[in-house]
Symmetry: D3
Subunit: 237 residues, 6 copies
């Protein structure tokens, strides 16, 4: 299925997330606010150092290393979009290259996130176009006509829907579901302030272990067998 | 088996490929002309950025992480050769180091391509010797006397024969079978010109999807069950 | 189990190893002297280039991506220690971040070695704190209370005990068991001298293959079936 | 987030899919009708041979190997449900065991699908409860309180939403999005009939290659560079 | 280093663990009592179904796929020992075969545990000798003279010392450190009784989630930033 | 390139290898005679237990999970052939299924060896057709027209040329290059006799370590730095 029309978050919401990029490692704070979830796996790598970008997901579901759906996704993108490609576990043919980059720039696409490989990295680095992927390989994929655009996908271990907010920094990629984006934006702003206060304590010489009283944390652990029996006993008596 | 004498491509052919290195990402164009094949897997990494080299394959088939055959391959190399090592799936002992590098330089070897690990990377970087491999590890492999030199091998997912042309750039490694090298060189030169024309169109604002009419491509896809039955019906009538 | 008190090597021994860091790729020489063993796997990567550090292992055995034991290990560390974390095969949640780094610096910890992921890499790079790990990911691990401190662990394929000497350079990480450290230090110093002499020969034009007479090495190989029968025959006659 | 109430497909729809289980390898036919998509990766394995089951997905999103959400998902299940667990890339602690199996049976759960490990396989085999997972390991995961129930997840490379139809046979696991289920059921029934006709031809001696005229298929392939230029030329003239 | 003499647990202790094998999945209970630790990774597989065995670890540290140390370990074994081999990440040459099996049986060895491959599986199955490993491959490893016997190793993610108790059942392999063995044996016996009581509750219709009151568990989770600030505030006031 | 005509080994040679199948684990003996090489990696698995087959390789080089070349290879096969497919690192779409099996049987193909996935395993097991592959998955690959037939490939870590002899038993798959096949056949027959004599010694109570005098083997190991210097010194004096 090729969905040409998707609901995107408001420009204000996108601007809100963009303003977070002034903080280091903001993907980490966002993930914290998402329940520690929604970060792509640790084998995702930037084509060059220093990529820090935010945008709206246009999703590509590929079969059998087929580029057709990725081409179509570029054509359906709007300025500020990020093309997110589920490469179906294939890492030995490239799903992105120079001509796709130039086409994407023509449409205002701001990044590509691929859980497969890319090629033409020398040109892409010169163009300064942010690509986050699993590796580089000269072989290009096929162009056969399989695949879907703007359907729910998984990419590098995270479910992504068209219109989700994608945030990238030096730590990797985080996916904010569109429906939660406003709440997560606010929570993240609050967390970054709390974090600041916390770091004052550490700068003064404390450790995280002291600050959260880690010795007490170790007491939380229980044998579920014992716990179950205790509860059972209690409810019997 | 240790083959001390192999057939190498002519200096003119090697020069022809070398002249292609003036183009960015030429491995991608060569792979296109090889039917999109013959690129090593995306987990091959350069010891330093900016490696762009071409040479003739001297092949090493190793067993049990044994360095003996790699030592011998260096001794059998001629100026312009690239030592290509099939490390038999082992990535946790090094198949290449500083002394091997210095030995190889003595023989005029221009690069090493290994689908295993290398060590002494600090010295190798200072020497500026191109090594493409799967990672770094301080453990050296054994020296026991197993292994073969200049026999057909696989390296990082590609079959390599002694005398094949090896091309390396920022995208990775491509293997051109010696018998096809002259044809592929010519085809690649042509492709790079075509590519140039194509990019003019994109620079003018087009996308790849528009240029190849990707909507038409999607119509190529068929259910092989239906297609088989249609054909059967046609031949019946 | 949380062991708050471990036996550390003497400052002299640590200083001895530290002085080796003036040589390139000293981890390789140390591994040679350890019988070619004790290097962590080739998928361990530094958070920034140029990390060269030595210290005493404080070990963390984690379960279920739980950070509690890592927090506690920092609190139990002394100046010059390196926190070594066995992440139990988990690479998609982070076991180290900015607050842990700042806490560790407060205690004089000189590096962290983790066979899992880390986050807050932008801050960690600014702080210049050496972390060697398997990748980066924004998701943080849990804080639940499982795990052990200063018990024998494995990290990236090597058994590590609290008090072992950890050496890191551009090739990766080597573990020197505390009991062998004095002997290995001496052996390594000797090897580095021998190495120097050997390299004189190579600089003069020789190859490793020539210097060790690799052709003779190939004759060492035997069919164990034949060898067994030969021995049997010999002992019969 | 823990969603206690999800929309499930109608009993008639489930019955329709269940009736397909009389055919061999029905997951393959369903995947064909889903555009060749939505099969879990090939590293998913049954706890015993011969598992053939269908049910409605109750989803579990785990963090840090935490079992709490899986326990809760069982409590929220209804007869005919299948618990589908996203194990966050962790394969070395178990996410399912005997007590969970017995609890699940109490609620009428018909299978568990986990992209991580399970334990107590000896008891689970005796109970005959279908578990499809990535391996077995005696270590149990933690119980700490992280995780979500009945939210969109990915499991073994496929996006899964609560209420999706899960089909398992000897080939693996296929996910049918709830919204498409009625259409896919009908298409699959049709395909299975077509398949039958096709196989008559093969039984009579034909090959797939002959039946689809594979020689013609090879002519479909194009150089996208050439194709783009042809199109460009055509539109110029 | 080759240690010919190791301290083994008493026959009574071994008998105690052996008697546990009458319970299903006893490795799981033992792991629970070891703090949920010490199970080998989920990619360890039995050469045939139904392996249930216990013994004392004789350890082998291999380099470069060298069999010499494994041969020596067999010669140094005593009746009731299990040979545990650290294969250094190599899975594509075999570390165990028929002749080694027959040699091991001659010495009373009761099993082999290898985090690499084995071969001659057809004969090993006929002999009924328990081997747990990562796969099968016809290539044998080298015999060169590297490697160590009866030193601390890691095997499949667990640190193993000579003399540790190894327990294998259908779930995999658990390592009980010799020093903890008596305590763990007693704890495991107790757990198996508790487990029995717990299962009575479940058989009566309860779920694990109900029995441990999982809803309460979810309340344990905290933001460490908030928790740290709360503690800080409390200690300030 | 599609080569319709390949040179096959003589029927006598094939019969010679077939007669070896009366021995257990003959792939291991053949690999020994090939210098311990040419076995496919340990992650290759049979679709059912007990596969023991020999045949002549018809090779398929696939791109982008495309089945077209596999279809064509079946059409070009002759009785006794084995279709060997290089799946280009893709394991999440199937390269073989029921219709291909039936087509292959029509042509007298005796097995399929694939370093990717297969599907329709329920039917393939009923048909008893030997398939050795990396896993099962319901998704079928594409049919687009890329790929080559009867060219040199790699499959599961071994270079394979059309006409090579393929031998499969419970240990996996071994590739005998056609040019070496006669010599290897004779060597293997001899080895199997020697093996028999060796096993008499072991049955009488010996161990492999004793029979080859493993203590002597350990003395073979050398420091290549020291060895090089010794040689240098010797040649100086």
């Amino acid at each position: 299925m090729i969905n040409s029309d998707i609901k995107r978050p408001s420009p204000e919401l996108i601007d809100g997330f963009r303003s977070l990029l002034r903080f280091d490692s903001v993907t980490c704070a966002i993930s914290d606010c998402l329940g520690r979830f929604n970060a792509m796996t640790s084998d995702m790598k930037p084509v060059f150092e220093g990529i820090r970008v935010i945008g709206t997901a246009v999703t590509v579901k590929t079969l059998a290393s087929d580029l057709a759906a990725a081409f179509k996704a570029i054509d359906l993108s709007k300025p500020g979009d990020i093309v997110v490609i589920d490469s179906h576990g294939s890492v030995n043919t490239a799903f992105w290259g120079e001509n796709m980059t130039m086409s994407a720039v023509n449409r205002g696409v701001v990044a590509a996130v691929i859980d497969g490989a890319c090629r033409d990295v020398e040109e892409i680095r010169k163009l300064g176009f942010p690509v986050i992927c699993k590796g580089f390989v000269p072989n290009v994929a096929s162009i056969s006509g399989y695949g879907e655009v703007n359907v729910p996908i998984q990419c590098a271990g995270v479910a992504v829907s068209p219109g989700d907010v994608i945030v990238v920094d030096g730590n990797g990629v985080v996916v904010v579901p569109q429906g939660d984006a406003a709440v997560i934006l606010e929570k993240t702003q609050q967390l970054l302030e709390t974090e600041h206060l916390l770091q004052e304590k550490i700068k003064a010489g404390a450790t995280i272990g002291e600050l959260i009283n880690v010795d007490e944390v170790f007491k939380n652990v229980f044998s579920y067998q014992n716990r179950a029996l205790e509860y059972a006993q209690r409810s019997n008596s």
